[in-house]
């Protein structure tokens, strides 16, 4: 089947319906308040796809929404938080309540696991984690790592970590072409390794460009189309997080989300209803959070930093 002449551009609804299955292992891109795949996450929420295992380095507001909506069984990551805006409160509460399994790693450990996955390797060594309870207090009966001695050293332990290969990865980027070649601006976090390690990947982007453009400057391609299953054009698809050179994060909305997530209960349900479940797609959400005026201000804030 020709792969380099087929457009993979589709709606978020279609992409999520086709590639995100109940009970699947979902890899999430971006970090904290940067390039989080919000539009795709909202679509998963609206389609109510549950029983998910979520993998990432930092897991942030997108993961918290899925946990808060009861769609997540397990997470594996280095952190769950929005940094200055606080912990991911729904996640924290679910762990404290014992209703969510979580496996701790460090950020380097997680990207190492994706690195193994993208290279077709069963594991990746690391010299992090040694001496820590991330190794010692392991909830999975020890299948999360193996210690070995460096065969070329003298009592030099190395931790082997199992490859992480999500069933489907979701990321948000600045640009992608119709074939699925992806351009990332600003920090890339773990997105490239994770997408290439995954069995399928959905990329939402601010703008779909022509593959003619990609072929004119192929050094800019962060991820070639070989790994990408669907391309979704959604301007502001990372809101309320930031997309470098496009728009700043929305501090007010993040603060509001965190207040609802911390409070929980009715207030959180109202957030979900108003901003996600009751929305007719992500553009409707963008209207509800303040529409053109708000988005324009976020663009201007980013321009001021260029």
């Amino acid at each position: 089947m020709p792969v380099n002449s087929q457009s993979k551009v589709m709606t978020a609804r279609e992409a999520v319906a086709r590639f995100v299955a109940p009970g699947c292992v979902l890899g999430m891109g971006g970090q904290n308040v940067g390039r989080i795949p919000m539009a795709l996450t909202h679509e998963i929420l609206r389609q109510g796809i549950g029983g998910l295992t979520i993998l990432g380095c930092n897991l942030s507001i997108a993961m918290d929404l899925l946990v808060g909506a009861g769609l997540v069984r397990r997470t594996e990551s280095g952190t769950g938080n929005l940094e200055r805006f606080g912990t991911t409160f729904q996640w924290r509460r679910a762990i404290e309540a014992g209703v969510l399994q979580h496996r701790d790693y460090s950020h380097l450990a997680m990207v190492s696991r994706f690195l193994a996955g993208e290279m077709g390797l069963p594991f990746m060594p690391t010299k992090s984690l040694l001496g820590s309870d991330i190794l010692n207090k392991h909830p999975d009966g020890g299948d999360g790592y193996v210690l070995m001695d460096n065969p070329w050293g003298e009592h030099e332990p190395v931790a082997l970590l199992p490859a992480a290969c999500p069933d489907v990865a979701i990321i948000h980027a600045q640009r992608a072409d119709e074939l699925g070649n992806v351009i990332i601006e600003g920090f890339a976090a773990h997105d490239v390794e994770m997408v290439r390690a995954s069995r399928a990947a959905i990329v939402s982007c601010e703008e779909v460009v022509s593959s003619e453009e990609t072929r004119r400057r192929p050094e800019l391609t962060a991820i070639p189309y070989l790994y990408v299953s669907a391309v979704v054009e959604q301007p502001f698809g990372g809101h309320p997080t930031s997309v470098y050179r496009a728009y700043d994060f929305d501090s007010d909305h993040l603060t509001h989300y965190q207040a609802c997530a911390r409070e929980g209960g009715q207030m959180y349900q109202k957030y979900l209803e108003r901003y996600v479940l009751g929305c007719d797609g992500f553009d409707d959400y963008l209207e509800r959070i303040g529409g053109v005026k708000r988005l324009h201000a976020l663009r201007q804030a980013m321009q001021g930093m260029m």
Binding site: C57, L108, V111, S251
Partner: protein, 267 residues
């Protein structure tokens, strides 16, 4: 730039904590700092005595010019004029694990007498009383940096005998702890800067020692606010109060929107 005297008389304990942390950064150091006070301390250092520090941010940012009040390692404010915008692997594997970071800076919810840091859970790991965000890059920074600097508010509950969970290893259980665990930096320098004092690891015993007190703070106050019994330096120094210039830089250039120092300088 000279940022010395005259001495400020109008500063908060939090401000001096960050200023003191920034003093541990030498010009030209390669630095990896986590979110919060660490990020603020390196921003201050870059704008004062260490204009040539090279910041490496875990998300993949190499040597940016730090703009005011960054709130996250993913904030666009710390991507400005970087020489490379790359990946987490570029930063955490190819710089940090590669052994190139002179000084790493992290925070933490609990720190114990061996300088082990917990940012994961309070209580039993399997059934936690309080769940924190987790390691992030902190375990990596603590494992691989040549020197480690930890910034935290000095509250009793933050300084237990033993952390509930070692997220980021200090000396683990004594002077040979890091070596026995196989850490690549078995003799790491570790410094804790709080709003009350500065503690340093005593490598001979692998435990924290109070090295200096913040101006106006007594040793008793430190001990009263520390659950473990730290060693105390024979000659206990006093942390230098900040110059007016440092305070100005901190308030006007580092955190002009008062994201970190609410109310500072407004009284």
């Amino acid at each position: 730039m000279t940022v010395d005297a005259p001495i400020s008389t109008d500063y908060t304990a939090n401000e001096l904590m960050v200023i003191e942390a920034s003093r541990h950064i030498n010009d030209g150091d390669m630095v990896l700092a986590g979110t919060g006070m660490p990020l603020i301390a390196i921003t201050l250092a870059q704008k004062s005595h260490a204009p040539h520090l090279c910041a490496v941010v875990e998300t993949g940012i190499i040597d940016p010019e730090l703009l005011p009040s960054p709130v996250s390692v993913s904030d666009p404010r710390i991507q400005y004029r970087a020489v490379k915008l790359g990946s987490l692997r570029d930063a955490l594997a190819c710089v940090l694990q590669r052994g190139m970071i002179d000084i790493g800076m992290i925070g933490g919810a609990q720190i114990d007498q061996f300088a082990n840091v917990n940012s994961t859970v309070i209580g039993d790991y399997a059934a936690p009383r309080v769940r924190f965000p987790g390691s992030g890059g902190a375990n990596d920074v603590a494992s691989h940096s040549r020197r480690l600097l930890i910034i935290t508010r000095h509250e009793k509950r933050r300084f237990p005998e033993r952390v509930d969970y070692i997220t980021s290893p200090g000396y683990i259980d004594g002077p040979d702890g890091r070596r026995k665990a196989g850490l690549p930096t078995p003799q790491q320098d570790i410094t804790i800067v709080t709003d009350l004092c500065v503690m340093e690891i005593d490598k001979g015993v692998g435990r924290l020692k109070v090295a200096a007190l913040m101006p106006g703070v007594t040793l008793d106050r430190v001990l009263d606010n520390t659950l473990f019994k730290p060693l105390v330096a024979e000659r206990l120094a006093q942390v230098e109060p900040p110059s007016e210039e440092y305070i100005r830089i901190l308030r006007e250039e580092v955190d002009p929107q008062r994201v970190y120092f609410r109310g500072a300088g407004e009284g």
